[in-house]
Amino acid sequence: MNVTRGFTGRPRVHNPGLPPGQYDAGDDWPVLSAEVTPDLAPADWSFRVDGLVERPHTWDWDAAHTLPASAYDGDIHCVTGWSKFGVRFGGVSLDAFLSVARPHVSATHVVAYSHSGYTTNLPLADVTDGRAWIVWEYGGKPLPSEHGGPARLIVPHLYFWKSAKWIAGLTLLDHDEPGFWERNGYHERGNPWEEQRYSGD
């Protein structure tokens, strides 16, 4: 251990909900995108599932809202160090979209892409069985554009860069294909409990 002379840190209480190396951001919700916040109206938003699926399909705003509503209540963790507890996102489970598109058995990974050109890769198993959502509400209100509104992906058990803002679609693949931050040195999977921050962690 490399102790820093004279450093004691903030007084702290052990919080079992906090993954290693994270702090509780409280009411703050930092914005960490590297791009210009797009002006994307709900009427211009769409979401497509294609690649290794039986029926590639595109939903517009109204069609996506006819799917059964589903909410995420829980915590989120950003690779830059903050975690946010007890957040509520409203939208639709990704399972509802996938059950329409019907993934091939050969599909193992997805690339999520945004209306702005951002991409991130995920194992298919990380976005199925109630582990991922397309959401348009935060705390009961429309999701603000700087946080990915009108709609974003939410994969709360992984670091938040996987939860692509301004989500435009998912392409299902039979192999892994690194996305934007993954090509820029970030970890392939990003599990906060294992501190998978950067490639090599």
């Binding site: 251990m1 450093f7 004691t8 791009e35 916040t37 050109g117």
Partner: protein
């Protein structure tokens, strides 16, 4: 969104011991900390690192800091930190740190905001957001690059302008609260951005925006409104 610059992922995974060798005051709130990192693999202007402090009970605090110095092969790097009120890490640096102390760093990280010096660059920063941009300006000077480079930097007043003595003809300061006699006071506006976009180099600018989230939103919207293509705007948000 803009493309990327390949970075080595190998060194970023390892924590290295960095020894503080020099502290230089920049403004009442900001100081530059020079670190000897013998195994430093080098960086591109605009990249940042992760810094870690460890308490005797094993508690650690990690923060990101942009690299202020231009790349060179001296094994030294410089960081410039704002003293954040009650800040855990910046507080330690500003009140306790002295030459000879060691901290840990890993990096460099993220090639996204990096500028290798290849294309004309329009840099816009506020407060400590000028830090990665200064690495670019210093790189430009050190290498004698001729590719066009402009810096627009916003500060509350002249005494809070980091690197003031080093800024040259490439820089236009914007003062939001207090300004020297004859210089207008006000925040960064379309009128500051318009002349730079009217006078662009042949294939246009690569724009780099750095500062708080509020500043980044404001500045990037001004750029888009002035005609800068969104895919040629890179943003680093300090939070």
């Amino acid at each position: 969104m803009p493309g990327r610059i390949a970075v080595s992922n190998r060194t970023a995974a390892e924590w290295q011991t960095a020894t503080l060798t020099e502290i230089r005051r920049e403004t009442p709130q900001a100081a530059t900390f020079r670190l000897a990192v013998p195994q430093w693999a080098g960086h591109l202007p605009g990249q940042h690192l992760m810094l870690r402090l460890t308490a005797p009970d094993g508690y650690t605090a990690q923060r990101h800091y942009s690299i202020a110095s231009a790349p060179d092969d001296s094994g030294n790097i410089e960081l410039t930190l704002d003293h954040v009120p009650d800040g855990e890490v910046s507080g330690w640096f500003h009140t306790t740190a002295r030459p000879g102390d060691t901290v840990e760093v890993r990096g460099p990280l993220s090639g996204f905001f990096a500028w290798p010096g290849d294309r004309p660059a329009l840099l816009i920063g506020a407060g400590s957001g000028v830090v990665p941009l200064m690495s670019m300006v210093r790189h430009h000077r050190l290498r004698g690059l001729t590719v066009p480079l402009r810096l627009l930097v916003s500060a509350r007043g002249p005494e809070e302008l980091i690197y003031a003595a080093e800024l040259g003809a490439e820089t236009t300061p914007v003062f939001t609260r207090r300004a020297p006699q004859g210089v207008p006071v006000g925040r960064l506006a379309a009128a500051h951005v318009a002349p730079l976009l009217a006078d662009q180099p042949a294939h246009g600018w690569e724009a780099y925006v750095c500062g708080s989230n509020a500043f980044a939103e404001h500045a990037s919207r001004l750029l888009v409104a002035a005609g800068q293509p969104v895919e040629r705007i890179r943003i680093e948000r300090f939070g």
